[in-house]
Amino acid sequence: MSEITRRTALRAAAGILAVPALVERVGAQQAFDWKRFKGEKVEASLTANPRSSLLIKHQQEFEDLTGIRVGAEQIPEQQHRQKFAIEFASGRPSFDVVGISLHVNKRQVGRAKWCVDIKPLIQDASLTAPDFDFADFGKGAVAYSTQADGRMDTLPEFTDYFILYYNKDLLAAKNVAVPKTFEELYTAAKALTDPSKQQYGFVGRGLRNANVVLWTSFLLGTQQRDTVSPDMKLLTDTPDAIWAGQMYQKLMRDCAPPGSIGFNWNECQTTFMQGRAAFWIDGVGFAAPLEDKTRSRVAGKVGYAVVPAGPAHHHCCLFGTGLGISEQSRNRGPAWYYVQWAVNKTNQLRFLTSGAGAPARSSPFRNEEAIKASSFPREFFDTLVESANIARPGLPEIVPVTEFRDTIGTALTNMVGGADPAAELKRATEAFRPVLEQSERGT
């Protein structure tokens, strides 16, 4: 029998001291009552996208865990934004949980106080599972979900970064390197454009409204970066804004397919999938269709990189969605349970590994095993991590975002048609300024 040394005695004492904490932790796990709201029902109104599909596909897990029944619906993005706004305005929304595009509706929802503040719920140990691990959410995503007054009326679900997709075969054929700056992107795209072969160096959004985020991708690389100043003044006809307009114009006119003036992401995706475009800047959610061998001619040949840098800064556009709980909901407890489950670590890992998008939590990115088992190349995940470090909101946090996008988007469309960027941006700025001023007066 070995002797009891001072070291073993200290270890034993430390172990004994740690027992209460461990017991408390285990007890807390066991004590948390997932069945507290058994038999109740939650209605969730979600935007139609691969992430919502995943949640609906796996919602039986939640129902088995909690005994709460879920009625979840998916509605196309634009119609969903209108539907939930009108339902909230009616005072009797039909849903308890709602998916909100933060880049479009954040201030609208925050100003009207349509959703409950999530923070007190997180701090309530009787309602929040001990393994919820709020610290796991990326700081950027939490900041994006937080209103100016400190209320967090959505729990971040998904962050979307604009990245650069490229066709490896087309670049290799002409020995073109992946561009590091926008000027290099233009030079490379120009070199890879050959209309006689219906091959184009670049494809990007040209459709009014949708096209604004491509322009802001360029603007984020300038000294100015943003479209609205901190005191809510428009910065859309400045020299930097005009530079971004010129970059947009020359890429779209010299390197993009004819007719891209009417392209939204789906037409861009089709063009890229057909192998007709060398570069495409858009959201992260397109890796899955691009790598689908049954639909895509470029599957296995797609390269992923962060968007190139501008003349002064290097950022990529950040967008995101969050899940909110209606202030009018009579099922706040069950709704909060659903939200917790929807953005738990398992579901967030599913988002990442299925190519449905970048999760708001950081733990999925550290799960090497799952990443290796994924069908997407390592380069894709590296691009996401790198993009997270340089991401900055791609649209201004104002209420009339859609009107902003329509007004500036029309100017951009005209630029693709050959109009002068400076004149177009001046006209659009003058048209939108009173709308913004009126909106800000209503704050």
Partner: protein, 307 residues
């Protein structure tokens, strides 16, 4: 059956006494309450509320401020709205005239006897049965400048590819192509119904008098068909003015605002920008426009009838 009071049992007495008539109205008047309630709820109230909202500055999620006629004043100085009116009229004229011509010609063709006429008629009216959104999605794919079948067909016959809905100059005529394809069968059906009801005697008389086929058409068929053509014209005009789904699905009003008709403008103001007050003013003006045009067409129809 005569439903007048006098025709009812004891009707003579009822007709003779005004007091009894009032009793009759009091006794049976409540039968109109359900219909009246429905009319009030789905027609009068929405209209009154639209008028009320058009006098307010109201954004969804914000407060409501009374502005009187300010929304109307703003509307008539809003360049984007005025252009949408011009585009609506341009689109309507094309989307009415072309189906009217093609539909009338098709009706004349299908009125003649030829082998497999029934099958041909059925095939011809198929587009009309398709869901507009589905139709629009199919055409969107066909219009794709690089991958669409239409440009492939053009290049097969040696013609240059077109930008179709992806060019501000061609977008409205292209949208009209979809409308013509979709709704020419409706005009054909209406006119065909008219042709089937035409009397034979005038044609026999004309033949005896030595009239040519063109003269018979010009002086007999066309005048007799005119009431049917005017009905088709009214229906087509109202439909074309209301057109929304096809345009929204295919172009969303673009490129830029080059296919933004009043309906698209109205939709954006109401449901994208949440300017409910301003959108209500657009509704009132648009309603006045449609009613004026419908009244004009009805007046024309009556003139034709009288003639």
């Amino acid at each position: 059956m005569d439903n007048s009071a006098a025709a009812l049992p004891g009707g003579t007495a009822v007709a003779a006494g005004g007091g009894r008539r009032r009793n009759y109205a009091r006794r049976y008047g409540w039968f109109i309450v359900p219909a009246g309630a429905v009319v009030l709820a789905v027609i009068l109230f929405p209209w009154a509320f639209t008028l009320f909202m058009s006098a307010h500055d109201w954004k969804i999620g914000g407060g409501r401020v009374y502005v009187g006629f300010e929304n109307y004043r703003k509307l008539f100085t809003d360049e984007r709205f005025l252009w949408s009116v011009v585009r609506t009229l341009y689109y309507t004229v094309l989307a009415v005239i072309l189906p009217m011509i093609f539909g009338t010609v098709a009706a004349l063709v299908f009125h003649r006897r030829f082998p497999l006429r029934g099958l041909a008629r059925t095939v011809f009216i198929l587009p009309m049965m398709a869901t507009p959104v589905a139709v629009a999605l199919v055409w969107t794919m066909m219009f794709h400048p690089q991958l669409g079948v239409l440009n492939w067909l053009l290049t097969q016959v040696g013609l240059p590819p077109s930008m179709w809905v992806y060019d501000a100059r061609t977008v409205i005529p292209t949208l009209v192509i979809v409308e013509v394809w979709h709704w020419t069968p409706l005009v054909m059906l209406i006119v065909l119904g008219g042709l089937a009801s035409l009397p034979v005697d005038p044609y026999e008389a004309a033949k005896i008098d030595g009239a040519s086929a063109w003269q018979a058409f010009r002086h007999i068929t066309l005048p007799l068909l005119m009431p049917f053509i005017v009905v088709a014209l009214i229906i087509r005009t109202i439909d074309a003015l209301k057109a929304f789904d096809t345009i929204y699905v295919i172009t969303q009003g673009g490129p830029g605002t080059s296919s933004e008709t009043i309906n698209i403008f109205l939709y954006l103001q109401g449901f994208a920008y949440y300017n409910m007050g301003y959108a209500s003013a657009v509704v009132v003006v648009f309603f006045a426009l449609i009613v004026s045009l419908a009244a004009l067409l009805l007046w024309t129809r009556n003139r034709v009838k009288d003639a």
